[in-house]
Structure formats: C-alpha cells, structure tokens
C-alpha cells in the first residue's frame, strides 16, 4: 500500500477546484485549458485557467483528472498553488512544489505531479500561442501507464 500523507488523502477525498470553467466571453478575461495524456490512452488531466488579460493574472483554476489518488491530489494542489499568480510566476511552479504542497509523494508516484506541471505549461503556451514541442516517447520504460509518461520524460522534468 502506498504511504500517502494526510494532505494527499484530504485532497483526494475532498478535492478543491474540481470541474471546468465556462467561457462567458467576459471582456478582459480569457478562459483556456491545457491537457496532458491522450484520449486514445484513456487517461488525462485537463487544467482550466481563467486569466485576467491585462496583468496576466490567474483568477481561477479548475481541473478534471482521470487518474490515481496522487494524480487527483496533485491536480487539486496545483490549482491551489497557481491561483492569484501571474502566468510568468505560474510557469516557475514545478512538480516539486506540488509534491511539497502535498507533504511529499511516494517516490514511485512522484511522476503523478509531473503531469500537473505539464498541463500548466500546455495551458499557458496555448494562451500565448506558443507551440509545444512534443517529447518523443523514447528510450525509457513506460512508468505512468495512465498518462503515457515515460521514465526519461520524468527524469527530464524531475531534474
């Protein structure tokens, strides 16, 4: 059995900011979402952001996650961490910050926090219109089967 912290369990049982954000076409407000994982695989995290266009502040963040306990807790933690940050500040949030917020994750589950970071990057890049270079699923063994995250990818991100 995984050794989850109380914080992980709390956010798993009572996640904050679950769901999606509707785009109500409010002036000066942008709503985007970023996604990691593939529908073909059947696993994903979708991160929704509400952004104040003037100062690039994240006004709200919501998530939809198909994944394990730590994936759900990580997603929820991420939304808590980034609310109120500017996009530039948010881009500095790493999977380590997510794990720290959760009081730690089992080593084998560290990668569950990685996709939080990736979804954030995807959402912000999408908003800014920057193409995301798709990392090849290369050498490494498939570690997170739900999200198709390979070991080498995790190493890249964790380092």
């Amino acid at each position: 059995m995984w050794d989850y912290t109380d914080k992980v369990m709390e956010l798993f049982y009572n996640p904050k900011n679950q769901g999606l954000l509707e785009d109500n076409q409010e002036p000066g407000i942008a709503v985007v979402f970023g996604e990691v994982g593939s529908i073909a695989c059947g696993d994903a995290l979708r991160l929704h952001l509400k952004i104040d266009v003037d100062n690039e502040k994240i006004l709200d963040a919501r998530f939809q996650t198909f994944g394990c306990t730590s994936a759900i807790a990580s997603s929820s933690a991420l939304t808590e961490l980034i609310k109120g940050l500017t996009l530039d500040q948010a881009l500095k949030v790493t999977n380590k910050d997510i794990a720290e917020y959760l009081g730690g994750l089992p080593e084998a589950k560290m990668h569950c926090s990685v996709m939080g970071q990736e979804a954030l990057e995807a959402a912000i890049f999408k908003y800014r219109g920057i193409p995301i270079d798709v990392h090849e699923e290369d050498e490494g063994a498939l570690i997170c089967s739900c999200f198709g995250i390979s070991e080498s990818k995790i190493r890249r991100v964790i380092q």
């Binding site: 059995m1 995984w2 369990m9 798993f12 049982y13 996640p15 679950q18 769901g19 996604e35 529908i39 073909a40 695989c41 059947g42 696993d43 994903a44 995290l45 979708r46 939809q64 996650t65 198909f66 994944g67 394990c68 306990t69 994936a71 759900i72 084998a108 498939l142 570690i143 997170c144 089967s145 739900c146």
Partner: protein
C-alpha cells in the same frame, strides 16, 4: 483499523479459527524436529504425516505425492524446474499470457537460459484456444504450465481437455491451482495433471505454507537442495505449525466446498446489482467457467487505485490486479491480454469473497459503490465526453 469488509480473498484469506487451534500445540509444547531420533521429535513426525494425508485427500492424491513447500511461488518454481531437469533434451515450454508472475517470470528467466516459451493468447473472455495449444506443441515441448483458475478474473481453464492434448505430445503438465484448491473439487486420481501447486493462505491456512502435488512416477529433483526432508524432494526443516494448519484447512475445505453455492449466490447478487445500478460498467472475463467467489468489474472512465482508496475509506477491502504486482503501476497484464479498452482497463476492480462473507457486507458494498463511482466520474475529463 481492526476489521473491515474483506472482499480480497484471492489475495489472501483469514486463517480459520479451527486451523489456528490445530496449530497452536505445535507452536508451543510440540516443538520437536520431526526428523529427530527421539520420541519428542517423532510424535511431531506423526502429526506431519496426518496433515499430509489431509492435503492429499482434498485433491484425491496419495500422501506420498504431496511435497510441502513455503508458498505457491515456491511450488511453481520447483515444479517448472523439476519438469525441465527431468527432460534435459527438450527445450520448449508452453504457458499462457495470463499466468501469475510466479510462472510468467520463471518462464521469462528461462528464455534467457536457452528455452523457447510459447505464451498462449486469450480471447476477450479470458479463455484460451485449444487449437492454438495443439498447434504450439512439438516433440521438443518439455512442459505445459497452465493455471487452473485465474486470480484476477476467476476464469477457469478446461484443465482436463488441455491435459489430453498435452499427453498426445508426451510433455509434462503442471497446473498452478493456487486459486482453485478449496474452491473447486479436484481429483488427481482421474486427472491428466502431473504436477499441481497449491498455497495455504488462499484456503484459510496461514501464510508461509504450500504444497506441490507430484504424480507418482514423475521424475523429480529438489529445488531447495540440502537435507533429505520430504523424502529428498524439499530440503529444510519442516514448517511444522504451517503443515498442521494446512492439513486442518484441507480437511475443512472438503466440507466447505459442498456449501460454496451460498458464496456464489452472494457474488452473483453483488455482480448483478452493480451492473444494474452503475452505468458504463461490465464484467471482465467469461461468466460461465469461473470461480464461484470472484468477480472482476471494469468501471469506465475512472482509475482503479482511486476506487480502491475510496472503498478503503468505507472499510471495504478489494483490489485491482494481484497483490504482488500492486506496487507496480502497470495495468494488469491479464486484462491487457484480454484486449480490454484502456478506459475499462484502468478502472477494473476485483471483488473476491470467502465463506466468511455475509449478505450484510454485500449490501454495504452495493450502497457505497455507486456513490464512489459517481464522485470519481465527476472529477474525470471523460465524463460526458
């Protein structure tokens, strides 16, 4: 937490209180070594002999055909190695893609040691194709090793039909019956099986004891080498309390098997009602040829670990995949071999009942399971997609 609604009996079972009682004297006053020359050890030897008869009786074997082991894994390792040593000139093995790691990983190791292994596929129902079996066999086939019943889905293979085909080619036939013994009546006297593995903790005996059936006449070399215990077929001081416990559990299982309809009715009700009350879920594996205590259900669009931890919050124990692979993050190799879609694969849960399961416990599961699925689906991006 001290108690729970325990629906994880294919992982391990509660030791029967009568089994504990039978063992206790051998953990306290009768601590002698059964191989010793004195009466104090000798009397222990007699008890071991009786236990051997009890185990033999459960599977219709002769007591000389029973070798005590430390677990199902040891039984599988020993049987496979012995079968190959008995026919050193043959270098081919047939097994299935859905075996337990205690067979699969031995086969994978053997592939690095000059053996060729055929892994028979299974269909969407988890069944093998007997013609694929026959087509895979040659005069070079030393061993066919196929499980009696699958630990994840409960699907039962047609062992005697398989055995007839195996015998046509003169190969040895090993059956991992860890999940079948105690749930399905077996009779080695009228069987084609040469070697059969069982494990105590799956039938209300303690962990740390198992047995291997070795048909009289089958050449056998020990896997654990050393002293001449178990008539030279398994070295190491005998686990006397474990052996006594397994003997008692085997005796109890004989009566118990006759009542297994009750357990099956509970399982059927659980399964039927879950399918009725929860949308987008389905039973994994054939429902006809199946263990009476097992159901494996795929809940689409949600993930198994999240389901398990939610169940755990309600004090309900179940599992996804087998306990010994639960530390790994790979989805079940059994369900993958059956070709399930990824949506179902990740959200599959095994409920395995025992003689201790009550109707009230099943009611409770039926009450909370819809809530859990609903909550997790609400979190999922695929919901309503």
């Amino acid at each position: 937490m001290q108690t729970c609604i325990y629906l994880d009996n294919n992982a391990t079972t509660k030791v029967d209180p009568e089994v504990v009682e039978a063992m206790l004297p051998y953990l306290t006053q009768y601590y002698g070594n059964p191989s010793s020359m004195h009466t104090f050890g000798g009397q222990v030897g007699k008890a071991v002999k009786q236990a051997r008869q009890q185990v033999a009786a459960l599977i219709g074997a002769d007591d000389s055909e029973i070798v005590f082991t430390s677990c199902g894994t040891e039984g599988n390792n020993a049987a496979i190695r012995a079968a190959l040593q008995a026919q050193p000139e043959k270098r081919h093995i047939v097994t299935t893609q859905v075996e337990h790691p205690a067979v699969l990983n031995v086969c994978k190791q053997l592939e690095t040691q000059g053996y060729t292994v055929t892994y028979l596929s299974v269909n969407r129902q988890g069944q093998i194709d007997l013609d694929e079996l026959s087509a895979s066999m040659t005069g070079n086939t030393a061993l066919v090793t196929i499980m009696y019943a699958n630990n994840e889905t409960g699907v039962v293979f047609p062992i005697e039909q398989i055995g007839l085909r195996v015998k046509e080619y003169g190969a040895l036939f090993h059956v991992d019956a860890v999940q079948a013994v105690g749930k399905v009546p077996l009779n080695m006297k009228t069987s084609t099986v040469d070697l059969l593995t069982l494990s105590g903790h799956k039938l209300h005996a303690p962990k740390g004891i198992g047995a291997l059936y070795v048909r009289r006449g089958v050449r056998f070399r020990p896997f654990l080498v050393g002293g001449h215990q178990e008539r030279g077929r398994r070295a190491g001081t005998e686990n006397v309390p474990g052996i006594i416990g397994l003997g008692k559990a085997a005796e109890l299982a004989q009566t118990y098997i006759k009542d297994i309809k009750h357990e099956q009715q509970l399982r059927d009700r659980l399964e039927k009602t879950l399918l009725e009350t929860i949308p987008d879920c389905e039973v994994n594996g054939e429902r006809k040829n199946r263990l009476p205590n097992t159901t494996n259900i795929g809940f689409k669009y949600i993930e198994g670990e999240a389901i398990l931890l939610s169940l755990n919050q309600y004090g309900i124990c179940a599992s996804s995949g087998s306990a010994c692979t639960s530390g790994s993050l790979e989805p079940s190799h059994v369900l993958r071999s059956m070709g399930l879609p990824y949506t179902t694969l990740h959200g599959s849960i095994r409920f395995s009942l025992s003689r201790y399961t009550t109707a009230a416990e099943i009611d409770r599961v039926l009450e909370v399971m819809p809530l859990i699925v609903e909550r997790l689906r609400a979190l999922s991006p695929f919901n309503n997609d």
